[in-house]
């Protein structure tokens, strides 16, 4: 019995027990459903073992949407607790666990996979490639992310959730002040998914550098692919550092090392520094792809080429470099002195310059355009004024002196939601709606889409604007309660009402996916938006080999020029296509990774060692398998038939 006690939740409540039952019933329903409809084989052959970048992308997005739901439920719980003074819906410990989970899940397990989903699906298509550089590595990346996400998500029902915030500052996150296994979960689950992220970075950078279609130069890449290029450079630059920081943190907790402890030469602020040296570029890893998405969508629906292509690229490169040298603005209050704070202040404010250039370029793209207000365009347009508020408050926060009054307050919370939600979430939703027909061969309903857009766009401001004001009145962030005398009550109530509207908007979005899957017409053609880049030149949904023959590219909007100037994109004759085989090894290896991480969390060392051996066995297996696994060929006749069928049905 003693062995099993460690898996008990240290601070249980009705909601947690209800969740246990809910999780058990859902899992049971999935197993029964798969068995009843005889879908186990389909699931294994078509999805779990797949190395196709499009399917991996779809799995990433599906996971991201589920995590969005979880993060949203957490957010609603937080707002419910703060709605009125001295509220008792959540106690302190639960509130701390919920906001920690909200942050980690939204950043690491919602935004990141959403980004990787779109990156997987769109990047190879935009550069005219048949797959990514390392298809099997891509599968390992996905399953590592997935196992990391699942590991983090079971924490609150098995052993206890992390309670030290998404930043997990030491010494609060140390064994001494956070004794449950929660922070172990944090360290291990982020380690797993971070490893996957690093592999993705290497994989896609190689893909963009080495697998572009004939004639496609770097300075002709669509802006989304350019964004992916700089994003992957950033990933490769900072994720190794995060892996090291997490390893130090995990060792402090599990093996008694003294990297971040108080006393014995440990340095607590070292964690904060390491965390933000990774963490600040991380927010640009999220926002740069969003800038790429907006560039594609605004140019498409303004019916114009993107204004200032070169300065768009230059500004992204500038942001990439600057993002690496501003981390200390997260703790001006550490007391590092006037000189250091001044340098970091100026570097941080400097980011406003390239960001401003991008905003002006988008405005100039709208100028002399023929603007159509489709749903992806609405999301992209709403981004501009809303993100502007996030941006200018960012400049205010960048000023170290003034930051002494904003730091740790709701003003900061309002600021980063004003950047991340319009900047990242709007972009990913816009991208999802925009590329949805390419993924699935039908469009999402525009009317329902507009309802969800207006709900989110309006209630977002209702939720987060009041926080600027309560922050300036002294409401500190991450505090589970406040008294009535503070006077924070009315504005917090408004924010909480806004959160309900915001949640409703996302529910309508989910309903749109359901409705459109059932009722939207399937004969939409390959180019439903009248768009400009290569992915719209091939059938929707995209056949497994992507391009029957490789495109020949001459400009930055190859497909548009093919349509309007009559360039022949596909002059080559169809030839046999060589494709990689599916494999179950990535999935199995990552399951073993999961078991290993889980056993480390609960201090079950023998099982962890056995798992490590298992992981190496999988790698060894692959190195022998590679000798006889040569992939397979799709024959000319089959390609011609597929193209005939897909294009014939479309037009």
């Amino acid at each position: 019995m003693e062995f099993f006690e460690r898996f008990a939740v240290p601070h249980p409540s009705f909601a947690i027990y209800a969740s246990m039952v809910g999780i058990a019933l859902t899992s049971l329903a999935i197993v029964v459903g798969l068995t009843y409809f005889k879908k186990w084989g389909y699931l294994w052959r078509e999805w779990i073992t797949t190395v196709d970048h499009k399917r991996i992308g779809i799995m990433y997005i599906l996971a991201a949407l589920i995590m969005l739901l979880r993060g949203l439920v957490d957010a609603v719980m937080l707002r419910a607790q703060l709605a009125i003074p001295d509220n008792t819906i959540l106690d302190s410990q639960h509130y701390n666990e919920v906001f920690s989970a909200h942050g980690v899940i939204m950043i690491m397990f919602m935004a990141m996979p959403f980004l990787f989903g779109l990156m997987n699906i769109v990047t190879p298509l935009q550069i005219g490639a048949r797959d990514v550089a390392f298809p099997r590595l891509n599968a390992i990346s996905f399953w590592l992310f997935f196992m990391g996400a699942m590991l983090f998500n079971i924490a609150f029902v098995v052993g206890g959730a992390p309670d030290a915030g998404w930043t997990s500052y030491f010494p609060l996150a140390s064994e001494e002040f956070s004794p449950s296994v929660g922070t172990n979960y944090y360290m291990m689950s982020l380690q797993l998914s971070g490893l996957g992220t690093l592999m993705t970075g290497i994989n896609f950078l190689t893909t963009i550098f080495r697998m572009r279609a004939p004639g496609l130069k770097l300075m002709q890449l669509p802006m989304f692919t350019w964004a992916m290029l700089v994003t992957n450079v950033l990933i490769i630059a900072v994720f190794p550092l995060f892996a090291v920081a997490l390893a130090f943190g995990a060792m402090d907790r599990m093996f008694g090392t003294q990297f971040f402890t108080i006393g014995n030469g440990g340095m607590d602020m070292m964690w904060a520094n390491l965390f933000w040296v990774w963490g600040h570029p991380e927010v640009y890893i999220l926002i740069l792809p969003a800038f790429g998405i907006y560039s594609e969508i605004i140019s498409t629906f303004a019916r114009r080429n993107l204004y200032g292509y070169k300065s768009m690229v230059a500004s992204m490169v500038a942001i990439t470099i600057l993002s690496l040298v501003v981390w200390a603005h997260h703790f001006y209050t550490m007391g590092q002195g006037v000189l250091a704070n001044s340098i970091f202040s100026i570097a941080t404010m400097a980011i406003a310059v390239p960001t401003g250039i991008k905003i002006f370029n988008w405005l100039a793209t709208l100028r002399k355009g023929k603007i159509e207000f489709t749903t992806p365009m609405l999301w992209s347009l709403a981004f501009i004024p809303t993100f502007l508020i996030g941006g200018v408050t960012g400049v205010m926060l960048a000023m170290a002196s003034a930051d002494f009054q904003y730091h740790n307050t709701m003003f900061l919370v309002a600021h980063f939601h004003y950047t991340i939600i319009p900047g990242v979430v709007y972009a990913f939703i816009a991208g999802l709606i925009y590329w949805w027909p390419k993924m699935f061969g039908f469009m999402l309903n525009e009317k329902i889409g507009k309802v969800s857009f207006w709900l989110v766009a309006i209630f977002f401001n209702v939720t987060f604007f009041p926080m600027f004001i309560t922050g300036l009145d002294g409401q500190a962030r991450r505090m589970y309660t406040y008294s009535e005398e503070t006077g924070f009550g009315p504005l917090n109530l408004i924010a909480s009402i806004g959160a309900i509207g915001l949640a409703l908007g996302f529910i309508v979005l989910a309903y749109n996916i359901y409705w459109s899957t059932r009722y939207m017409p399937r004969n939409i053609g390959s180019d439903p938006w009248n768009a400009r880049s290569l992915e719209w030149s091939i059938p929707s949904p995209v056949p497994v080999y992507n391009f029957a023959t490789l495109p020949h590219v001459k400009s930055s909007q190859a497909f548009w020029d093919a349509k309007t100037k009559g360039h022949n994109l596909f002059p080559d004759k169809v030839e046999e296509i060589h494709m990689p085989n599916n494999s179950g090894v990535p999935f199995i290896m990552c399951v073993i990774f999961f078991i290993g991480a889980f056993s480390l969390i609960f201090d079950m060392i023998p099982l962890a060692i056995a798992s490590l051996i298992g992981v190496f066995a999988c790698m060894a297996y692959r190195s022998f398998e590679a000798n006889h696994d040569h992939g397979y060929h799709i024959h000319v006749k089959e390609i011609e038939e597929t193209e005939e069928r897909l294009r014939g049905a479309n037009k």
Binding site: S345, K370, R477, T481
Partner: protein, 301 residues
């Protein structure tokens, strides 16, 4: 586009509310020169940011209204425009000028708030050690030889030097009406310069999340005239018990307590971790001993 106008109206309403005097927000209700500097800086930047928002939003709405498809003829073909070196240089230069101006504002105000307030350099500062423990604030007055918990008395018109450190997680010491905040950490002492130029009662808190009880880690600040301050010190000495090491250890272990007052300070038996804030200083032998003392105390806890 109703939303944008609503938003704009909202911004104006808020700006008016922020700068109005009816019931000012804590940050805009300074009771000392440091807080006043920050309040002025913040209000200045709010106006600049508001101007930027208005200009960009107006340009944005103009584009949307003028170039929407429904207003244009069916055969209008938007032109292909690569960009313009002149125009792009202009809208790169303007943000650079704004950022340069704000950089100067930042550095100047930063120097001001990180030093003894201007005009008070000749006055001897009052040194108060403020240490955080889960979830309380201990205020030690080494000169007056008294110590308080969860409340602090300060004389007006005399520079205050708060020496901050923590017996546990990182905390942030913040009295918004007197000035900005600063971290209190376990392995070093940070200094916060404040000054109250009018008497009154204020609140202060730990604004940094530090676990289960941090929402309640608040303290009262009472700014009184120098004469009243002397009276208060005398009264505290007359009415209080001495602070012993046992008493202090017990206090560290108690999560929440009310206001308390003691004769003597804990600095005598549990000194602040001064001078051991980086590895270079660690080479200094005395500092090593300080560190060991501190660890010893931590073990006690």
């Amino acid at each position: 586009m109703k939303m944008k106008w609503t938003l704009l109206a909202l911004i104006f309403a808020v700006a008016t509310a922020l700068t109005g005097c009816e019931n000012p927000l804590a940050v805009f209700d300074p009771k000392g020169p440091q807080a006043a500097t920050l309040s002025d800086t913040i209000i200045l930047t709010i106006w600049i940011m508001l101007a930027i928002c208005v200009v960009v939003t107006v340009a944005f709405i103009y584009m949307l209204v003028k170039y929407r498809a429904s207003k244009q003829s069916k055969d209008y073909e938007p032109p292909h425009i690569e960009g313009s070196a002149v125009v792009e240089t202009i809208w790169t230069a303007i943000p650079i000028i704004i950022v340069a101006f704000l950089s100067i504002v930042t550095v100047v105000s930063l120097k001001d708030v990180e030093a003894t307030p201007k005009g008070y350099e000749n006055k001897e500062p009052l040194v108060i050690y403020a240490s955080s423990s889960n979830w309380k604030w201990h205020f030690s007055y080494p000169e007056e030889n008294i110590e308080t918990v969860n409340y602090v008395y300060v004389p007006t018109d005399r520079p205050l030097e708060f020496k901050l450190y923590s017996y546990g997680p990182i905390s942030s010491f913040w009295i918004p009406q007197l000035g900005g905040q600063k971290y209190a950490m376990a392995d070093m002492v940070t200094t916060l310069h404040l000054l109250a130029d009018e008497p009154g009662e204020m609140w202060g808190r730990n604004s940094n999340f530090s676990g289960k009880g941090s929402a309640h880690q608040l303290f009262d600040v009472q700014a009184v005239s120098p004469a009243e301050f002397e009276e208060w010190v005398e009264e505290a000495k007359a009415k209080s018990e001495p602070l012993t090491e046992e008493k202090f250890d017990e206090l560290l272990k108690t999560e929440h307590v009310g206001r308390q007052t003691f004769i003597g300070t804990h600095l005598e038996f549990s000194p602040a971790p001064e001078g051991s804030h980086n590895m270079d200083d660690m080479e200094n032998k005395e500092d090593m001993e300080d560190m060991e003392d501190m660890n010893h105390d931590m073990d006690h806890k």
